[in-house]
Symmetry: C5
C-alpha cells in the first residue's frame, strides 16, 4: 500500500531531523510534543468506530451480492410456460430474455465503472446485440427528465408477455401472473442496485471514520518516535529500533481494516475484489437465450431409474 510507504517516509524524515539536526533544546520540545501525542492518542476511538462501521458496511455488501440479478429463475419459467417452436414463439422468448439483460446492462452502467467503460453510450448496447437500432430509437423517443428510464425495457417485456398470453402461447391467466411475477422480482432486485447507488450510507459516517483513521496515524508520526530522554513513558525502557515495527503493523491492520470497508462499500468498482458485472451480463444473455430457445422443451427420454422396483 502506497499509504504505508508515505507514512514510513514521513516518519523517517521526522526521525532524521530530530536525531541529527535539532539542538538539544529543540529536541526536548520535540520530545515533549511526541509524549503529548503518544499519551493522548487513545482519545480517538478507532476500534469502536471501525468495528461498528465495518459491520454496517458488511450488511450493505451482502445486499449488493443478493441483488446482482441472476436470470436463471425467470428464464426457466419462460422456457416452460411460453409454448411454441415457430419463429414467433422463439422471438418472444428470446426477446423477453434480451429485454431483461438489457435492463440489467442499463442499471449496471449507472452503478459500475467497468460496465460504463464497456458501454459508454447506449449505441454500444446496440453494437453488442443487447438492443436493436429500432429499439434504441423507440427508447430515445421517450422523454422522461427525472429518471434513467430503466422501466422502459421492462415495459416492453411485460407487454410482450401480455401479447404471448393474448395469442394463447401462455395457457392461462394464473400462469401468466406467475410469469409476470418472476420477471418482476428479477427487475426489483436489479433496481435495488440503483437505489443503493443513489442513496449511499450517509457520507458523514464514512468521513468521520476515515478521518479518525487518518488523523490517528498523523499523530502517530510524532507519538511513535523513539526518544533519547526518559519521560516515564513505556518507551523509556525499550531499545531504539530505528524502525517503528509495531507501529507499521498497526498501520497495516487498521488501514487494512478500513480498506475492508472501502472494498465492501462499493462492490461494483474496478478492483480485483469487486464483482465482475461484465461477466454477469454476458453469462445472463448466453445462458438465458440457451435456456429459452435451444433448450426449449428439453427433456431426456423418460427411463426407469436404477432403484425402480
Amino acid at each position: 500500500m502506497s499509504e504505508l510507504l508515505l507514512w514510513i517516509v514521513l516518519y523517517s524524515i521526522l526521525s532524521a531531523i530530530y536525531r541529527n539536526f535539532l539542538i538539544e533544546e529543540y529536541q526536548i520540545i520535540f520530545e515533549k510534543l511526541c509524549v503529548f501525542f503518544y499519551t493522548f492518542a487513545d482519545y480517538i476511538p478507532l476500534n469502536f468506530m471501525l468495528g461498528f462501521y465495518v459491520t454496517a458496511v458488511y450488511g450493505r455488501w451482502t445486499n449488493y451480492v443478493n441483488d446482482i440479478g441472476w436470470i436463471d429463475t425467470p428464464c426457466l419459467f419462460i422456457s416452460t410456460n411460453i409454448h411454441g417452436t415457430n419463429d414467433t414463439a422463439r422471438l418472444i422468448r428470446r426477446n423477453l430474455v434480451r429485454y431483461m439483460v438489457l435492463t440489467q446492462a442499463m442499471v449496471y452502467r449507472t452503478v459500475c465503472v467497468s460496465v460504463k467503460r464497456r458501454f459508454p453510450t447506449l449505441e454500444h448496447l446496440v453494437t453488442s446485440g443487447l438492443m436493436t437500432k429500432s429499439e434504441l430509437k423507440s427508447f430515445n423517443e421517450i422523454n422522461s427528465p427525472n429518471d434513467n428510464k430503466f422501466w422502459v425495457p421492462m415495459e416492453w417485456c411485460f407487454n410482450l408477455l401480455r401479447q404471448a398470453r393474448l395469442i394463447k402461447m401462455i395457457d392461462s391467466d394464473i400462469i401468466y401472473t406467475q410469469l409476470i411475477d418472476k420477471i418482476g422480482q428479477y427487475r426489483s432486485t436489479l433496481l435495488n442496485l440503483a437505489v443503493y447507488d443513489w442513496i449511499p450510507i450517509p457520507l458523514v459516517y464514512t468521513q468521520v471514520v476515515t478521518l479518525a483513521v487518518r488523523f490517528y496515524f498523523i499523530f502517530a508520526l510524532f507519538g511513535r518516535q523513539y526518544l533519547k530522554h526518559d519521560y516515564n513513558t513505556p518507551y523509556s525502557e525499550t531499545i531504539d529500533l530505528y524502525i517503528p515495527i509495531l507501529s507499521i503493523f498497526q498501520f497495516i491492520f487498521y488501514v487494512g481494516w478500513m480498506k475492508v470497508a472501502e472494498v465492501m462499500l462499493n462492490p461494483l468498482g474496478d478492483d480485483d475484489e469487486d464483482l465482475e458485472l461484465n461477466y454477469i451480463i454476458d453469462r445472463n444473455l448466453q445462458v438465458g437465450l440457451l435456456t429459452v430457445d435451444k433448450c426449449y422443451g428439453l427433456l431426456p427420454d423418460q427411463e426407469k431409474d436404477m432403484f425402480w422396483k
Copy 2:
C-alpha cells in the same frame, strides 16, 4: 460545526482565567479540579453507547430507505394489465397513478419538513395537480377524528381498480388480485414511514446518549487544561501547547459520530444528507403517468436478435 467553536471559546476563557487572573492558591484548587475531571472522565461510557446506538439508528435508517415508495412496480402492472386506449381507460390508468402519488404526498407531508413546506395545506396538492377540487371536497367531507385519512385516496384507487375489472378492462380475477396486491404493497411501504414517524426510537435512548456526549465534553473543559504544577498525570511530562489539539480532534470525532446518528435518525429532514422527497413525488408522478399512458402498450417491432440462428 458551531458546537466546536463554542467549546474552544469556553476552553480558552477558562484557560485564560486560570493562567492570568487566579492567584496561586486558587490556581491549585482549579488544577485539582482539573485533575479530578481528567481522572474520572472515563466513567462515561461514550464508546459503547455511541457504537451500539449508531448501529440501532443505522438499522432504522435502512428501513426508511427501503420504504421510500417507488411507483415503478405498480405502474408496470397497471400499464400491462388494464387495457384500452379510449379516454375511459386512459383516465382510469392515469388516476390510479395520481391516487398513488397523492397518498405518497400526504404521507410525506406529515413526516418531512420540506414536503410540508411545499404543500402547507391540502389546497396546495390541488394546485400542484395531484388532486382535483372535487376530490379535495370529497376528502374533506370524510370526518375521521383519529387519523390522517391516508387510506382515502387508496380507497379511491382500489374502487377504481374494481370498476376497471367490472367493465372488463382487466381480463380476469386472478390478474385483478395481483394488481391490487402490488398497489397494496406500495401503500404498505409508504405507511411504514408514517409509523416510523409516529413511533420513534424511545426518546430516552437518544437522550441518554446525547447527554453523555455533551457532559463528557463539558467535563473535558476542565480535564484537558494544561496545568502548571505536576500532579502525576500523564500531562506533567508534556509541553504546554495552549491549544488542546487532540481534545479538539476528539471532539470532532465523537460529536461527528453523534451527528451520524442524528442524520440517520431523521433521514426525511432538510439537510443536505437527507433524502429529497420532493424530487421523488415529482419523479413518481411524471414517470408513473408516462408509464401507464404515453407508453401504454409500448413494444418495439419484434426483430430477430444478433445471435439468432
Copy 3:
C-alpha cells in the same frame, strides 16, 4: 429518578459517618475498604453487558412496533371486494371489522396493563360496543381450558367471510382467498404480541444485567468516597468536592441506559414512552367502520388531471 436520590442519600450518610464519627483507626479501615472497592470495580463488565443487552432488547422492541396491528390493509380489501349496499352487506362488512378489532382488544388485554384497566372483564368489551351480548354468550360457551380463545372472533370472521362468498357478495374464490389471507395476516401479527408476552427474553439475561448495574453502584458507594489519606490511587491528587459529581453522572448514564432497556422491554406498559394501545383500538374501530361502510364504494368523479394531453 428516585434511585439516584437514594444513592446520593446513602453516599452522604456513609461520607458523614466516615468524616465525623469514626476515630482514625476505623477511618483507615474504612478507607482501605474504599480503596478495595475502587480498585476492583471494573471486575463488573457493565459496558459490554449493557451494550449487547440493549441491542437485543431493541431488536425485540422493533418487532413489537411492527406487530401492533393496523386494520387499514384488511379494511381496504373488505371495502373493495365485498359488494352490496343493503343491510346484509353492510352488516357483514361492519361485523368483519368489529371482529378484527375485538381480537385486537382481547390480545391487548393480556399484554397491556392500560387496556386491561379499560376492559377489566369481557363485559366491558360489550359495553364499549366491541361485542354484542349474544356474542359474549357464544364466546363464553366455548370451553377451552388451555388458552385465551383469541381464535374465536377470528373464526367468526372467517365464517362470515365464507358466508359472504356463498351469497356471492365476493365475486370469486381467488378474491376470497386473497381476502382471507389479508385478514389472516392481520391476525398473525396480533398474535405475535401474545407470543412475545408469553415467551419473554429469558429472565436470567435481564437479571444478570440488572444485578450487575445495581451491585456496581452499591460498591461505588464505598469506592467513590473521598479519602483523607493518600493511597496511591488517582484520588489522592484531587480535591475534596464533597459531592461525587462524576459518579452521579455515571449513575445517570448507566442507570439511564438500563432504563432504555426497561422501556423497550415492555413497550406495552403504562409509561409515557409506551405505545398508546387504547388509542389504537379506538382508531382501528372508527377508521375500520368508516372505510368499509360510510366510504364503501367511494370514488370521486373521474376527471382528467392537469397534465392530460
Copy 4:
C-alpha cells in the same frame, strides 16, 4: 449455583494453606505465582467473547421461539374451508388436526428431553390418542433408513386434504392450494426445529467461550488471593477481607452471563426457563379439535353494532 460454592471452597482451601501451613519461603513463591496470575488474567478476552457469543445465541433463540409451531392458523383455514357436518367431514377435519399435532409431537420428541420422557416410544403416542394403532402400523411399515420419517403424517395430511377436494368438500382448487400452503408452512416451521437440533452452532464456538470462562476463574483462584507482602499491585493498598467479595460477584456476573447463553442455546430443555413443549402439544390438540369440530361454522347471529347509523 453449585459452581460458585465449589469456587469459594477451592479459594478458601488455597487461602488457608497459604496463610497457615506454608513457611515464608514457599509463601513468597506462592505470592509470586498469584501476582503472575493476577497480572496476566486479562490476556483472556472474556468480555468480547461473551458479548458476541451471547448475541449469536440470542439470535438463534429467537428463531426457536418463532418456529415453535402454533396450530391456530391452519385450523382456522381448515374450519372455514372444508365443509360438511356429517361424520366424514368431521373425521377429515379432526384427523387433519391430529396429523399436524402428531408431526409436532414426533419432531418435539427428537429435540426436547421432556417430550421424549413423556413419549419414550411411538406406542406412547398411540396411548395418548395422537395416533391410532393402525396408523402406527402403517408408519412402522415404511422403511426409511436415513431419516426420522417426520414427513409421513404430513403425507397423510396432504392426501387427506386431496381426498376432501375430490369429494368436493373443498370448493375449488384455489382454496385447496391455499389450504395446502398454510399446512405446509406449519410443517416447515416445525421442521426448522429439527434442523436447528441437527446442525447446532459449531461446537468449537461454544467450547472456546466456555473454556475461556472456566480457565479465567481457575486462574483467579490464585490471582485473587490476598497477599501478605507488597508487590506493587493494587492489592497492596487494601485491606484483608478474607472473603474475595468482588471476585465472587465477578464470578456471579460472568458465569451468569454464560448461563444466559446456555439457557438460550437449548431452549427446549428441561429447565424452568425453557419452553413448555408438552403444554404446547396438549394445547394445540385441544384447541385444534375445538376449532375445526365443535366450533365448525360458528357464527353468532348477525346483529347491528352500537354505532350503526
Copy 5:
C-alpha cells in the same frame, strides 16, 4: 493444534538461547526488545477484529445452513398433486425427484470437497444412479461456456412437470403453478450455495484478521519471555515459571476463536464440524423416492380419534 506446538517450540528455543548462550550485553539487548514487544502488543486490535469478524462469518454460516436444500417440501407437493399409479405417473414423479437431487449433487460438487471426491466426474453421477447415460449425453451436448449448467436438470424438471399437466395428471393450472413454485424455491435455495461460493466474504477482511492474529503471537514470542533484569514491567514482580502458561491459554483462546471463523467460513468442507453433504444427497434421494412413489397416496383408514364425541 499443531500451531500451538510450533509456537511453544519457537518460544522455548528463544528462551533457551537467551538464558544459556547470550552474554549479558546481548541479553540486555534481547530483553529490551522483549520489553518493546510486550509494551506495544496492544496496538493490534485483536478483540475488536475477531469479535466483529466472527459475527459476520456467523451470519453467513446461518445462511449456508438454511440453504442446504431439503427435498421434503417439493416431494410432499409432488406426491399429493401428480396423480396416477401407472408406470408413466410413477416415472414422472420419480424422475422429478431424481432431477432435483441431481441438481443438488451438481451444485454440491462445486462447493464441497467431499462431494467432489465422491463424484469426481459427471460419469460418477451416472454410476450412482442420479443420472442415466442418455441424460448425461443430453447434458453434455449443451454447450454453455460461461456457467456450470446447473439449470439443465431443472429445465428437465420443469418440462416434465409441464408434460404432467398436459396429460392431466395435475388437475389444474393453479395447482401446477404451486408445484412449479415449490420446486423453484428448492432450486433457488440450492443455487444460493453456489453464489456464496462464487462470491466469498471479501478476502481482504479474512486476511487482515488472520494476519493480525498471526503477528500478534509472533510478537508475543518475544514479548512474553521471562526476563532476568527488572524493567518496570508487571513481569518484574512475578516468578520465573519457564512455561508461559497464560500466554499458552491466550494462544488457545484467540487462535481457537479464529478457528471458529474458519470452520464457519466454509461449512461445506471436510472437517468433523462440517455439514455432511454426501449424507444429504443420499437421504434426499431415498426419502424423495419413498415419498413420491412407494408412499404415493398413503393414507391410513380414517378412524375416529380417542376424543370423538
